[in-house]
Symmetry: C2
Subunit: 259 residues, 2 copies
DNA sequence: AAGTGGTCTAGACCACAAT
DNA sequence: TTGTGGTCTAGACCACTTT
């Protein structure tokens, strides 16, 4: 049981490896409490700081969470599916609900979202994709979505201000038929979208808004929608906590001659 | 300059926040060295351990890397685009190259990959998607791809053994026209693919194979290819380091009546 | 009151690469 | 040889929740 003295692997590594192994082989199941730090101190014969460094490794791998002051626990995961394609699908009419709400409540979960609408200077990232000059104004709908009371993802949608001024998009409420449909009614039907997905660690702000535990990376999904004429009319930025999402989509073979 | 005594934010947090701020506002640019630990110790008036904890936070956010024993540095990023759609596109004929190699060298970078082929019992994850029973045998092509000498991603492709036995897929060499084409020649042309993308921290094994630095999450991309008849004939698992990739794809509006 | 983890200190020794 | 960060120890005090 003593884990000291080995090749030249640091103790903290050995401790992390040992516990990770126990998680992998089921000796420790999701939801189980790890031995207390005091206990591990004795088991491995090292100082408390070293035990903590070992646990720290597992926390940063997303395998363990700390529930103070109860102890450390093996993390449980229950990702939900995220389908970018859903945005383009026709949807049933359900007043006071938009795509997210509709999809989610279909799963029998309690869906809710907060909405803020404001007018801001386009962030560089957005301006570039909307083919605007830096500093031009855009309308933004910021939403935080909750599922069963837990924050689930962030979705900020940007629109060129002149397109949506005075439209339903500017009102901080759910849009029954979806913002895309409103945009279409205004003469800007989107027929094509470019999706980009980045994988990175969250910013401190994202950690707060989404209540992320350490070791949780996020997907950063940027979707730019274009009209038939090739005009970019919408940029949607979605932040997807890795522990709550699977991005899923389907593809069909492109028409390609031969080969 | 002294950062002590504040509301009740831990010193290590204040230190991390201070340095993060400097990175954000450009006082510290990508590639710059951070002040040494000894220097920060003096600047903030705390013990070295506390300084290290502050830096640790930034490392786990992926903002800082340690280049021992030179010092800590602001991380540089240069993601490359990853396009799942590329697999389905017709490609120019270039002997000894497959999709990855072709795409990459088009960018003027030196591409290389290692290939191992073996026959294994299907891992549960793969068996499920190939609609096989647990423990059935599959052929797997494991590749590690390098760009300019750096490991770039891992791609493991699984095929039901009976489909590909004795085909070119079993040989540990580049497949000129692509494995999908070989499969098509064998009578299993894929017309549809289901993509799933998970975002998580890497396993220690992935860290080693891809030489990831701490604070680097990965995208875990599982692509299942189906024939016209709906038979799953291929599962490709790709591990994409977040600091080297952007996943990108395009969508067109699905044909939907009205709404 | 007891027990958990969270933070911090002070000091020690080590490995590694540049000088 | 020097200076960097990496590891480890021993001990202290704190905050929070449960008992």
């Amino acid at each position: 049981m003593a884990v000291r003295k080995l090749g030249r692997t640091p103790y903290k590594q050995q401790i992390a490896d040992d516990l990770r192994e126990q998680i992998a082989d089921g000796s420790l199941s999701p939801g189980d409490q790890l031995p207390t730090e005091a206990e591990l101190e004795k088991r491995y014969g090292v100082a408390r700081g070293t035990v903590r460094q070992g646990i720290e490794i597992l926390i940063n791998e997303g395998l363990v969470v700390s529930a103070r002051p109860k102890g450390h626990f093996v993390r449980e995961r229950k990702p939900m599916v995220f389908r970018p394609q859903a945005e383009f699908r026709p949807r049933p009419y359900t007043p006071e609900m938009d795509a997210f709400m509709t999809e989610s409540s279909a799963d029998g979960r309690e869906a809710r979202q907060t909405i803020e609408v404001s007018i801001v200077e386009a962030p560089a990232e957005v301006a570039k994709r909307l083919q605007l000059d830096a500093g031009q104004l855009v309308a933004v709908r910021r939403r935080v979505r909750f599922l069963d009371g837990e924050p689930f993802n962030i979705n900020d949608s940007y629109f060129p201000l002149d397109l949506v001024q005075d439209s339903e998009i500017m009102r901080p409420q759910n849009i029954t038929q979806g913002a895309n449909e409103v945009l279409a009614d205004l003469g800007y039907r989107q027929v094509r979208a470019l999706d980009e997905l980045y994988v990175r660690m969250p910013t401190p702000e994202e950690v707060k808004r989404l209540d992320l535990s350490p070791g949780t990376p996020v997907g950063y999904h940027v979707c730019t929608g274009f009209t038939e004429e090739g005009k970019a009319v919408r940029v949607a930025v979605t932040v997807l906590p890795g522990d709550r999402h699977v991005v899923s989509y389907e593809r069909r073979r492109e028409t390609d001659p031969a080969s």
